[in-house]
């Protein structure tokens, strides 16, 4: 696939370059806070990118994607609590648990479509939320503090801000590369074909549900990775990570950035979270501006920021 020089790709390159150079800026300006903020942004961008795989390319509107953030996070938190501090154990467990959860709820949810699919994924995520609230041994409602970040046998130190930031960024870029390969593979083309016309794809002999399920599981697993990183970032995991408004936030990031574009979710996450941060510095009532802004984007900016950039470049 040839990468064309246009506004959208330029925007993507710009954002990635900015993210790569950010620690340099943070070190030079002495602004430590910005690094903390952007670590969170990069992690949530990873979660949004995984949601984009099923939402943008697969046409599966999951309203329960934050569940994986919690599952990945709890895998790390619970193992740390029980004395297993190695990331080589924690991360695979986080991914496997997310994959398993995605497999089960995907198999059930994919029997429905449209708004019913949105709602059943929401219901499953709420169930996960209540299960986590019921884990009295691991903090229940109040959440679980993680006293020690994952260790990687001395290879990388997650307590070092810069190293942790670059680990998250590497994960994000790796995941985007993976999604790019998936989307352009035969498998990805089938999934996108199913988004456009499921009946036709079935008629030419593709087992629709099986392809969608695999795609759903991949997205869930990738979001579990984001969950494991997020728990390390905050040193804390609580049921609130899985609450439905968090799933809504992820959806907003994807749609704001541009569904079905590779870097859209990253741009969406950066814009949404930076805006949230800036507005909350200006006024305590930041949501008063953020809410109508979202409405405005939906009303006038079809295809999100990437869509607008695309139209802009075509004149």
């Amino acid at each position: 696939m040839k990468i064309e020089p246009n506004v959208r790709n330029a925007a993507a390159v710009l954002v990635v370059a900015g993210l790569v150079l950010l620690p340099l800026y943070s070190a030079l300006s002495g602004n430590v806070f910005i690094l903390t903020l952007f670590t969170r942004i990069v992690i949530l961008a990873l979660a949004a990118a995984s949601l984009n795989l099923i939402m943008g390319y697969g046409g599966m509107m999951s309203f329960g994607h934050a569940a994986y953030l919690g599952i990945g996070g709890y895998a790390v938190g619970i193992l740390a609590q029980e004395g297993f501090g190695s990331g080589f154990l924690q991360f695979p467990v986080a991914l496997a648990a997310s994959a398993l959860f995605a497999l089960v709820i995907g198999a059930l949810s994919l029997r429905t479509r449209g708004v019913y699919f949105i709602m059943i994924t929401l219901a499953f995520a709420q169930m996960a939320y209540y299960v986590a609230s019921g884990l009295a041994r691991y903090g229940g409602d109040d959440g679980l503090t993680i006293y020690k970040r994952s260790t990687f046998a001395g290879l990388i130190n997650l307590s070092n801000r810069v190293q942790f930031y670059y680990l998250c960024l590497a994960c994000l870029l790796g995941v985007i590369f993976l999604i790019w390969r998936i989307v352009n593979s035969r498998f990805g083309l089938v999934v996108q074909g199913l988004r456009s016309n499921e009946q036709r794809m079935q008629a030419i002999g593709f087992p629709a549900k099986r392809y969608q399920l695999v795609c759903f599981v991949i997205a869930g697993t990738l979001c579990g990775l984001a969950g494991a990183l997020l728990a390390n970032n905050t040193d804390f995991v609580s049921p609130a990570v899985m609450y439905w408004t968090r799933s809504g936030d992820l959806m907003v990031m994807v749609i704001l950035g541009g569904m079905g574009s590779l870097f859209g979710p990253v741009i969406g996450a950066v814009v949404y979270l930076v805006l949230e941060e800036l507005l909350s510095q200006v006024t305590e009532y930041w949501a008063l501006i953020m809410g109508p802004l979202l409405l405005f984007v939906v009303l006038f900016g079809r295809g999100g920021i990437m869509g607008m950039l695309g139209r802009f470049s075509r004149g």
Partner: protein
């Protein structure tokens, strides 16, 4: 026995309240094909309006009527300024736009009424317990909720099935171009339906307000429950919403009341007391998942368009 009757009545009352909320959602969804996450915000606004107007006028009934009018007006303004431009768009656009509205309303309430919750005190004549069966007392206010909600459900049924406007609404749901071509002002009709849905949500909010506190975000939890109700009942079906609402209300209330004791008989005390709250909160989601797996279109799917 006493406890069982009381809990069944509580479940019925909660279910009917859910129905008021779900009816508006399912009407708006069934007729305009519009997913309105901000429906919970209208519920919240109804409660805040009621608390304000009751304090202002000093009369519970007058305050409630004023609040009902205010929510109706708010719904109409909302539809007219923003939401009508979203009909015919992708459902995802609806979700995003109304998610933005939730943020807006929560923040607006914080700005106007402050972050602390409000209380909506009941008048004296609604606080007395009523003897419903020999030896069984039940709070008058909860009984009043049941009566009002049943009356509204009946009115809604008659209004949709037996009046001319109701006929137009049903016709609009099955074919909007055709009814537009017949010279009916479909836009006005939609605005009306949306306002009606808003008023129903507001009514549910203000009726729930004296039982719980009036606070920011009160609409969000119950909104999810209302969605569960309309999904179980079959989206667009009022009858389905009614039955599913009662089912969900009963299961949720009875589960919370009796599940801990039931579990204690199977599990050890400590395990039961940790598992019970989580399990009883999960029950209705479990119900929804089971219903959707067995009947992907809900229990009473509205007739195909």
């Amino acid at each position: 026995m006493l406890l069982v009757v009381e809990q069944i009545l509580n479940g019925l009352q909660f279910g009917l309240l859910l129905f008021l909320l779900a009816a508006g959602l399912t009407l708006v969804f069934g007729i305009m094909d519009f997913v309105n996450l901000a429906h919970g915000s209208l519920y919240m606004m109804g409660a805040y309006f009621a608390a304000t107007f009751v304090a202002w006028t000093g009369s519970f009934v007058l305050g409630a009527v004023l609040a009902l009018g205010a929510t109706l007006l708010l719904g109409i303004v909302l539809e007219f300024t923003a939401l009508r431009h979203l009909y015919g768009r992708d459902h995802l656009d609806h979700v995003l736009a109304t998610f933005g509205l939730i943020l807006f309303f929560n923040e607006a309430v914080r700005l106007v009424w402050g972050p602390a919750g409000l209380a909506l005190p009941l008048p004296a004549w609604l606080t007395v317990p009523v003897q419903i069966l020999p030896g069984i007392q039940y709070p008058a206010y909860r009984l009043a909720i049941i009566v009002v909600a049943l009356a509204v459900a009946l009115l809604l049924y008659l209004g949709v099935m037996r009046t001319r406007v109701g006929m137009l609404i049903r016709a609009g749901a099955s074919n909007r171009e055709m009814i537009g071509a017949l010279g009916i002002n479909i836009k006005l009709l939609y605005t009306l339906v949306f306002g009606l849905g808003a008023a129903l949500a507001g009514l549910a909010g203000m009726m729930q307000a004296p039982i719980l506190t009036v606070q920011i975000g009160m609409g969000e939890n119950i909104l999810i429950l209302a969605f569960v109700v309309i999904v179980i009942g079959g989206i667009g079906s009022i009858r389905g919403a009614f039955l599913a609402a009662i089912l969900v209300g009963l299961i949720d209330t009875l589960g919370r009341a009796f599940l801990p004791n039931l579990l204690r008989q199977v599990l050890s005390g400590a395990a039961a007391s940790t598992a019970a709250p989580a399990l009883s909160s999960m029950l209705i989601y479990l119900l929804m998942a089971i219903v959707l797996v067995l009947r992907p279109e809900g229990l009473f799917p509205a007739s195909k368009r």
